[in-house]
Amino acid sequence: MSKSEKAFSMVVTFCIMFVFCVLLSAWVSYHDSPGHFNLLHVCEGIIAALIVTVISHELLIPEKGEKVLLKTLRLIPYLGWELWQIALATFDVTYRVLHPKMPIDPRIIEFETTLRSDFALTTLANSITLTPGTITILVEPEKGKFVVHAIAQAPADALLVDQTMQRKVAHVYMEE
């Protein structure tokens, strides 16, 4: 990472952190309460934001990515789909838990994907955990290999055979 990129990422991280601090703690919550928007609390916010910036500026803006705006735009419909999947996942687990015979048949499956970038792998791992009946156990970033625990046959097939989610994530991060 060059010097100008480092400075850029530090400044952006500091601004985001400070705005967040003002939004959450320093602003007036009600009309009749004064809030904490005075010198002492603003200075505390600046110090806290500086500490966070020094520790973690490489995490928030890692490097100059390509087509960041397009990827962000493509992420929005994916997040909507993901929210729906979370609701389905909870109904699925609720059904399995409350059913008198508990229709579960747990198994551990493995599969490989073509995804390589950190963001894509993290998104896919989190999505697998949030969708019905599957939880990510291990990820090997070099080979794009996933080890997944599935609670029954049907959710395992959704990952192994249909591969809807892999295609959606590949579309969002343009790694098809």
Binding site: I104, P106, R107, H149
Partner: protein, 104 residues
Amino acid sequence: MHSIDIISTVLMAGGAFFMLTGALGLLRLPDFYTRLHATGKCDTLGEVLIIVGCMVYQGWSFITIKLFFLMLFIFIANPVATHAIMKAAYVTGVKPWKKGDERM
């Protein structure tokens, strides 16, 4: 009773129901991995429903924005925590339960 009260009560009651189901699953399911399925998934929607209920009850203010960010962090943190516990169990060699085995 206002309609806002009714909507927020329904949302919070739904959240409490899913949290209760998660706890029930923790007791009923046979092994470590399947129990994480119950807690990891039911808790996410349960907590989010309770927070949305609070947002509706509070009305439009800065508290609503704070609650929204809380919801966002739960969506990111919950699967990561579930995954971390699962990985720790897998690496240290906890045996998964198969269909037909005795309950542990």
